[in-house]
């Protein structure tokens, strides 16, 4: 059986740029920065839209659905005491080039397939809510 992640989750250092992303999961909603002009999402957060250079950037909720773009099952004890876990690369449903590195959970090793539909869930750790993904419709 695969673990949900490493035995210890190292955490992001919050600042005014990334706080919305890492704390937004408190209400179960995944958010990305979106341009008010051209409506493109961008990640990681930056002050101007890289597509149209607008400064009109604000966090917006996404559906939390996505597809598995790639994955790797980590076996090495980089973080001691960790059982094998799945590092996943998920394409967010709203935009084809919007991706997130995450963990795939609640999925047996032999059921992991690139292209599978996944949905977000969060694991809280103090002020931080870490977005993980599991097979859609479980």
């Amino acid at each position: 059986m695969l673990a949900d992640g490493p035995s210890l989750r190292l955490l992001p250092r919050l600042d005014d740029c990334n706080r919305f992303f890492w704390t937004g999961g408190a209400d179960g909603v995944l958010r990305f920065l979106r341009c008010g002009e051209c409506r493109r999402f961008t990640h990681p957060p930056v002050p101007r839209c890289p597509a149209c250079l607008s400064r009109d950037m604000a966090p917006e909720p996404v559906s939390g659905r996505g597809t598995l773009h790639s994955f790797t099952v980590n076996h090495q004890q980089w973080i001691p005491g960790s059982d094998p876990y799945v590092v996943a690369l998920v394409t967010i449903a709203e935009q084809a080039d919007l991706r997130l590195t995450t963990n795939l959970i609640d999925c047996p090793a032999d059921a992991i397939a690139i292209g599978m539909a996944v949905e977000v869930t969060f694991v809280g750790n103090g002020d931080v809510h870490i977005p993980l993904f599991r097979p859609a419709g479980l």
Partner: protein
């Protein structure tokens, strides 16, 4: 690139290695000076002739043993009289320092530039293990557990690491595992194909007395090895070592007096066009190697069929496959079948690859070892591992992932 290009006025005239091995327990400056003096002597020069200096990555980058001494430290250690100097980690991967030196020499800022890269990662990691520091098993390419900020006893990280560490994606093995898995999905890459990079490197390392791993390795050994991060097993990941590699890059008009055949820099691949990111790059099967390689061929009349020997970055085996495609030795997605039975990339094959063992078996000299071997082969000085037949054009690549660089070298015939 025209023949008046400054880069073509530079050639590698001297090459040098320090002692190379696992856990030498020698200081990085000690190894660096050894390699640099060897390169200067190899060029037929004295240290008083050196007026340029460059290194990758400079001080204070990465974990213990990664960065080696900075250029001011070496300048002082050898009391060099420099007209130009440079050090840094950003640019077209590790070879950025060699490219910078070639540009400086080509532009007339220096006549003989010394370039070096030093690693003592094996000794540094052994030190950590014996000290039992936090049980940090974080490998090369990963961050230090002690590198974070404050917060509840758990280290906190900003910058790009924040997008990976919370998920246990702490090592380049994880990030590149995603590339390899995507290649399995899109191209049908098999573990037996991937194994050829490791097996070829080990076969070649048996003919290299300086290689860190020389025991025979067979496909069954590979397939039985423990997984690091699927589909990458132990033999797909290079091993930390200690060692320093140095070059002298000289103005071509002086190079023809050098004791060994100069290796002229025909073209460099330096482009960065996609997003420099481990997870946002548009094509996760290739990443930055694609555009770096393309820019190299845009700058020369030579093409892939002119290449006699290839030294392609194999810090992780799959990166060598990525480079084979990026450099046009086969089509996109075709590298698995290109290496399938190992014959094309063998020393006697049509494209001899990583003839000193690469980093997987030769040791993780972090790109510079590959460039060293390219020069040895072009000079015809590789002894029992010399590629048979013509050896006039060599290609070298460094990096992969978000940063990549490549270089085309030709033996200068005057």
């Amino acid at each position: 690139m025209s023949d008046t290009s400054p880069l073509r006025r530079a050639a590698i005239t001297g090459i040098g290695h320090s002692q190379i091995g696992r856990r030498l327990r020698r200081g990085d400056l000690d190894l660096t000076v050894e390699a640099c003096l060897a390169a200067i002597a190899d060029a037929g020069l004295d240290r008083d002739d050196i007026d340029g200096l460059a290194t990758y990555p400079g001080t204070g980058i990465g974990m213990g043993g990664f960065s080696g001494p900075g250029s001011p430290e070496l300048q002082d250690a050898l009391r060099l009289q420099l007209s130009w100097h440079d050090g840094g980690a950003e640019g077209p991967a590790q070879m950025r320092a060699v490219i910078a030196a070639a540009m400086a020499v080509g532009c007339g800022l220096a006549r003989h530039a010394l370039v070096y890269r030093t690693v003592t990662e094996a000794t540094a990691q052994a030190g950590r293990a014996s000290a039992g520091i936090g049980g940090s098993g974080l490998g090369s390419g990963g961050p230090s557990l002690g590198g974070g900020g404050s917060g509840g006893g758990v280290p906190r990280f900003g910058g790009f690491l924040q997008w990976f560490l919370p998920f246990g994606a702490v090592s380049a093995a994880n990030w590149i595992g995603l590339v390899a898995q995507r290649r399995i999905h899109e191209f049908g890459l098999t573990r037996t194909q991937l194994a050829q990079i490791a097996l070829n490197g080990r076969r070649n390392a048996t003919h290299n007395p300086g290689a860190v791993y020389r025991e025979p390795l067979c496909l069954d050994d590979y397939l039985a090895a423990r997984m690091i991060s699927t589909p990458l097993c132990l033999y797909d990941c290079d091993a930390p070592c200690d060692g320093s590699t140095a070059f002298v890059v000289s103005a071509v008009e002086t190079a023809r007096d050098a004791p060994h055949a100069p290796c002229r820099i025909e073209a460099v691949g330096t482009a960065l066009r996609g997003r420099p990111s481990w997870d946002q790059f548009d094509d996760m099967t290739t990443m930055a190697a694609r555009d770096a390689a393309a820019s190299m061929w845009e700058r020369t009349d030579l093409g892939p069929s002119d290449v006699d020997v290839a030294q392609l970055y194999d810090g992780f085996s799959v990166l060598a496959l990525v480079w084979l495609e990026a450099l046009g030795f086969c089509g996109r997605g075709e590298s698995g079948s290109f290496v399938e039975d190992g014959t094309r990339i063998a020393r006697e094959g049509t494209l001899p690859l990583n003839t000193a063992g690469g980093q997987l078996s030769g040791g993780r000299l972090h790109g510079f070892g590959l460039l060293h071997e390219a020069c040895v082969q072009l000079r015809g000085e590789a002894g029992e591992r010399q590629v048979p037949g013509r050896c006039e054009v060599a290609v070298v690549s460094n990096g992969g992932g978000p940063l990549a660089g490549s270089m085309l070298l030709v033996r200068d015939t005057g």
